[in-house]
């Protein structure tokens, strides 16, 4: 049996990954997200697809106070967690989010602090138990500050660095940490963007996540994998080019 907790379970990538785990058989889930009806619908869907047990836990992940308790509850509900997928986050409007310090702090709360807190909690719980996979959805946007989305990118950069370091620390304790950097993904979050050939589906990204967890990979994965090369170039590009991206 595989016991899985997913934070931000209504996100397209999280849902797609959950479906793949459910179809593989023997999976139990705790789903955390804000929208209770949506969680219920996803729970029914995963059950139909073969999940053994699905528990929906409605919670607002922007509320930082409750996070430790939430982790403890998830642990308790399934008697331990084998895979924790931290997938929540919002793609903010850069102008709005940088209009005031309050706006920025609020956004960093949900995009950086909340996932970071969950990473720390599950890192510890998994280390104590001597096994587990911790997966955090970061972004290629965290690899380089761009003029149009540095607030979002900054939050993701924090998750990437933390996750990478945690993975190195916890490796010997039997815990792997996967930092997922999706490129452009066709999801409701990006519904308004014009799409080109660089876009991947949530299913493809989810496939990369499920494979990485299956192989107990530790460290950063790009999804699709060729984004590693794109970002290698972007990381070394001179500022006058990045300015235009």
């Amino acid at each position: 049996m595989t016991r899985i907790v997913i934070f931000g379970a209504t996100s397209a990538i999280a849902q797609a990954a959950a479906r793949q785990w459910a179809a593989a058989g023997g999976a139990c889930f705790v789903l955390v997200g804000r929208n209770e009806t949506a969680l219920g619908d996803i729970a029914a869907d995963l059950t139909a697809r073969g999940a053994e047990d699905v528990i929906a836990k409605p919670a607002d992940l922007a509320v930082l106070d409750g996070l430790s308790r939430l982790c403890a509850e998830a642990e308790e509900a399934l008697g331990g967690i084998d895979i924790a997928l931290i997938a929540h986050g919002v793609l903010p409007d850069q102008v709005e989010v940088t209009a005031s310090a309050d706006n920025l702090l609020e956004n960093l709360g949900v995009n950086a602090l909340s996932p970071a807190a969950l990473m720390v909690e599950f890192g510890r719980l998994m280390k104590d138990r001597g096994h587990g996979s911790l997966v955090v959805i970061s972004s290629v946007a965290g690899d380089r500050g761009r003029p149009s989305n540095w607030a979002y990118g900054g939050a993701k950069a924090m998750l990437s660095v933390m996750g990478e370091g945690m993975g190195l620390e916890l490796d010997s304790a039997g815990v792997n940490v996967v930092v997922v950097k999706p490129g452009f993904v066709d999801t409701p979050m990006t519904a308004d963007f014009p799409k080109g050939p660089l876009w991947a589906s949530a299913d493809q990204v989810a496939g990369a996540i499920v494979r990485a967890v299956g192989k107990r990979r530790n460290g950063v994965i790009y999804a699709p994998a060729w984004w590693r090369f794109v970002m290698l170039i972007v990381r070394f590009a001179p500022a006058f080019i990045v300015r235009r991206l």
Partner: protein, 436 residues
Amino acid sequence: MSNDFQSWGRFPAAPHQKAVAWRDRRHMPMLGDGPVLARGNGRSYGDVCLNDGGTLLTTRALDKFILFDAEAGELVCEPGVLLSDILDLIVPKGWFLPVVPGTRLVTVGGAIANDVHGKNHHRFGTFGTNVLDFRLLRSDGTALSCSRDENAELFTATIGGLGLTGLIAEVRLKLRPIASSYLEGEQFRFDTLDEFFALSEGSEASHEYTAAWIDCLAEGDRLGRGHFMRANHAADGGLDPATRSLPLAVPLTPPLSLVTRVSLRVFNTLYYERQRVHEVSRRWHFDPYLFPLDSIANWNRLYGPKGFLQYQCVVPDNEARAASAELLKEISRSGQGSPLVVFKTFGDVASPGLLSFPMKGATLALDFPILGKRTFELLDRLDGIVAEAGGRLYPAKDARMSVEMFEKGFPALDRFMKQIDPAFESGFQRRVMGRA
């Protein structure tokens, strides 16, 4: 936007469509100005899935299962679920969809709205025949549960209702058990239409799936030659849902149709001659047997930028032989057509749908690359033969039939029109039902 939402035949163009994703199955999205229409996976060939000047409500985001009862063989799901996803789920558990069309890449909502049929019509009727109930959202804000017993008139109007009665929201389907994902049967080469009808009649009682390919260019004493395939679900072989590798794909649209008179003649002759003996026994996985075209993505691009028309008609049983011969003569004389031809007989399992297409008789379906006026003129001549025989055309495939042809073919039209939701329209509806 226009490029994203063409029909499968890529004709007619619909450059002024907006699209809104429908995400909450419990509510209809906010309606703006102008008429709306649900849009499934766009596998209809003509304008039943187009709404030029209006808004398409896309359903693919609604792709959740709601309940799979693997004991009773029932499935409840959202309308944007693809038949493909259903098969992946149910086949390993020993279930199958009673009715599937020639592609698995259609949504449940689309399959109901066109009341699609498969190669086993004489056994299981249409897709809608096997729907137990559904919820229908209407633009007046109501959500109605529809079945044979409840809101029965809306139930029968919505099955084959071309998306015009509202949004199909939650669907409960009856499944049928299978013991294996393999099919067993025979493939016959036949030389005449009479031989086809003898094979078809002789196979209906013994075989679930029957259909034939016909060489649409053959003339004279070769008229109606082709291959007839029949099969049943096998008793053994395991329950693997298709082991599908990445499909081949046609990456772009060639500037001209690759289906020409010469390529067609060469292909048809080779294809016909490929089987040298009269009869061979075969075993197939259901996937290549039932969905042969799904292994090539975007094959519709082969017809070039002008697009193509699919012509699918049915002629009633008593006229079937004579009318089919006349249709084939007219087509071979024109030299137009394509290798993609399906000829089969329908049985008499009645669908609840008011505008359901199948009737007991013979149905012919084939593609025509659009070569300009002469293509449309040919199809008008075919219409004449079909109408004379008391037959009709399939709206899911149509982009050109006349108002008269439509009205003549669907006698329950008046009853249907009373159930239309006033906020809903389609290109097809404006073209042939416009006088409402």
